[in-house]
């Protein structure tokens, strides 16, 4: 039988439950293709093939990767399906990418998006 994936580090939420229930990966008996890494604000994170950038963050216990334009409040994934635009991130220098929709790719450089993500335009 294929080996069931168990994340090495990251969030406790995604490790198998101590009550023996399961982890999401164990529930569907996932045996993913080899993992790869991306960086978030310089920190290295493990990603699995096909996971969205938001899923990579949740797997690492990270819930926010944007600050709002007016209040500077932290935000992350909310609707999870591309409708709310709260999960915007800067991916490889491109701001305003919906992290819940964009699949992570090996070597992606992701940074917290501050405000509109266009501070360089000085408008």
């Amino acid at each position: 039988m294929a080996k069931v994936y168990e994340p090495e580090g990251g969030s406790e939420a995604n490790r198998p439950s101590p009550r023996g229930a399961s982890s999401p990966a164990a529930l569907v008996r996932a045996a993913p293709d080899p993992a790869f890494t991306v960086t978030f604000d310089g920190r290295t994170l493990t990603a699995l093939p096909g996971q969205s950038i938001a899923a990579v963050f949740w797997a690492a216990g990270i819930l926010s990767w944007r600050t709002t334009r007016a209040g500077g409040e932290p935000r992350g994934a909310f609707c999870g399906i591309g409708s709310c635009y709260d999960c915007l991130a800067t991916v490889n220098g491109r701001p305003n990418q919906r992290a819940c929709l964009v699949a992570a790719r090996p070597g992606d450089v992701i940074t917290t998006q501050e405000g509109t993500g266009h501070a360089d335009l000085a408008v």
Partner: protein, 478 residues
């Protein structure tokens, strides 16, 4: 792909969306001999309901997160067979942003943005004789203090992230809001290893008792409920009815929620508050039909029993605009089984209209099934209609519009002092609903605070489109 609309080959039917309704419609239409193009925003067919892990995650049992996976799997493999045979073209990762009628030919032009793997975008266009809108729904949200904290996520959002990415937002997840989706979400989260201390449901499930006739005619639905119920019992999840999460607490992320008892109108009962520690909250108040393409075309709407606007459809699944059909949640929230049924019925009606193809023998049974499922859906929708008193859990500082950061106080001021009585006036005065999500998250709440009914979607573009793309549109199609 041709860039001029006049160079495009015309297909019989364009289906927008590959969730239960679109998938069933596309497969049934191809079975009946129509040439079909499916445009879907997702990478893989299934929509939100049948969302499943990417192939690279190698899930041996994706059905562990689904009910009735078989209904999807059979149709998905038939779709593939039709694609191989050239009867269906499946355009994945294509988000249709507008549908326009070509006045010269009476045909429909669908404009889409195709997303590449790195987020790069390209334009795409499809010309069709008929259109089936199967655009599904998104979650209805009602704000409360603290709902913008990281870790507060949509109930459907938590489910979607779990189904596709195999991740959880936290270890101890409170599920709250209203509607049958909450039970499914709680059962999935618990099965995937999360602790769910409670499902906090604002309405009383006992109100279904009044709808016993509809329930009795839906043994399948009862079974589904029992399945969720059984899963919840096994994981020791408490179901608190007539309760709501009226505040979330934390600084950088949610650490606890306040749960309050509600009166019949959903007004929080003073003194009933209790604090429940958690590291995530999955919240939602049912679903809202996604109608911008339809309303952009001028399709008539009706008010559904859950207070949302849905398309007004005839028994053949036709909208009020000739040539435009709809199926699934667009015609009123009713779940996947109803969507599958409606998609198939729409396909047979379209095949009859375009080619005179006789209705398949099973159509009569599908019509009966649709009536039965719709009655049940309407009974549930009525039971989960938000009570007027929910606004009692908002303080003036609570952000209602997440994108433009507009607090409830500014909206109340626009209504009380500036005379705004509908969502549109509130938007013009406060910017609520004017941001990235175009009012999808705050729309129902703003309409309620303004005192008017639900506002019709007015989004000429259903997703962000670069100005250059708009400038390239040929003038003849507008």
């Amino acid at each position: 792909m041709p860039t001029s609309p006049s160079d495009l080959a015309v297909v019989d039917l364009a289906v927008v969306g590959a969730g239960p309704a679109g998938l069933a419609g596309a497969v049934a239409a191809a079975d009946l001999g129509l040439g079909v193009t499916v445009l879907d925003a997702g990478e893989r067919p299934g929509g939100q309901f049948y969302r499943h892990p990417a192939p690279g995650l190698r899930a041996a049992r994706p059905e562990a997160l689904h009910h009735d996976w078989e209904a999807f799997a059979t149709r998905a493999s038939r779709l593939e067979a039709h694609c191989r045979a050239g009867r269906v073209t499946h355009l994945a990762a294509h988000h249709v942003w507008t549908v326009v009628r070509d006045a010269a030919t009476g045909e429909w032009l669908l404009h889409a943005v195709a997303s590449g793997p790195g987020g790069e975008e390209a334009p795409a266009m499809v010309r069709a004789r008929a259109v089936l809108l199967a655009t599904g729904a998104y979650e209805r949200q009602l704000p409360f203090p603290g709902w913008t904290l990281p870790g507060v996520v949509g109930a459907g959002g938590a489910q979607a992230m779990l189904k596709s990415g195999l991740v959880l937002p936290g270890r101890r997840v409170v599920v709250a809001g209203s509607g049958p989706l909450l039970l499914a979400v709680a059962a999935s989260l618990a099965a995937a290893g999360a602790t769910v201390p409670a499902v906090v449901e604002a309405s009383a499930y006992t109100s279904y008792a009044r709808e016993l006739p509809a329930l009795v005619r839906n043994p399948g639905k009862l079974g589904e409920g029992a399945l969720y119920g059984g899963g919840l019992l096994r994981h020791r999840v408490r179901l608190l009815t007539r309760h709501a999460v009226t505040a979330a607490h934390g600084t950088d992320r949610v650490e606890a929620v306040t749960v309050s008892r509600l009166d019949r109108d959903w007004r929080p009962v003073a003194g009933s508050e209790r604090r429940m520690p958690c590291d995530a909250l999955a919240v939602g108040h049912g679903l809202v039909p996604q109608l911008e393409l339809a309303t952009g075309l001028g399709c008539a709407t009706r008010r559904a029993p859950d207070g949302t606007l849905a398309l007004d459809l005839d028994p053949a699944q036709r909208t009020s605009v000739p040539g435009i059909w709809a199926a699934g949640e667009t015609g009123g929230i009713g779940g996947a089984q109803l969507a599958l049924t409606e998609g198939e019925l729409a396909a047979s009606a379209i095949a009859y209209e375009l080619h005179g193809t006789p209705r398949p023998r099973r159509a009569a049974a599908l019509v009966r099934r649709r009536a039965r499922l719709r009655r049940f859906a309407d009974a549930m929708a009525a039971a989960h209609l938000p009570g007027d008193g929910w606004t009692g859990w908002l303080d003036d500082a609570t952000l209602v519009c997440r994108c433009e950061e507009v607090p409830a106080g500014r909206i109340r001021e626009a209504v009380a002092d500036l005379g705004a009585h509908d969502a549109r006036s509130v938007k013009l005065l406060t910017r609520a609903g004017m941001g990235w999500c175009q009012g999808r998250m705050c729309g129902p709440a703003v309409a309620c605070l303004a005192g008017g009914g639900p506002a019709e979607d007015r989004r000429p573009l259903s997703c962000p489109v670069e100005l250059g793309r708009l400038a390239q549109l040929p003038p003849s199609v507008s």
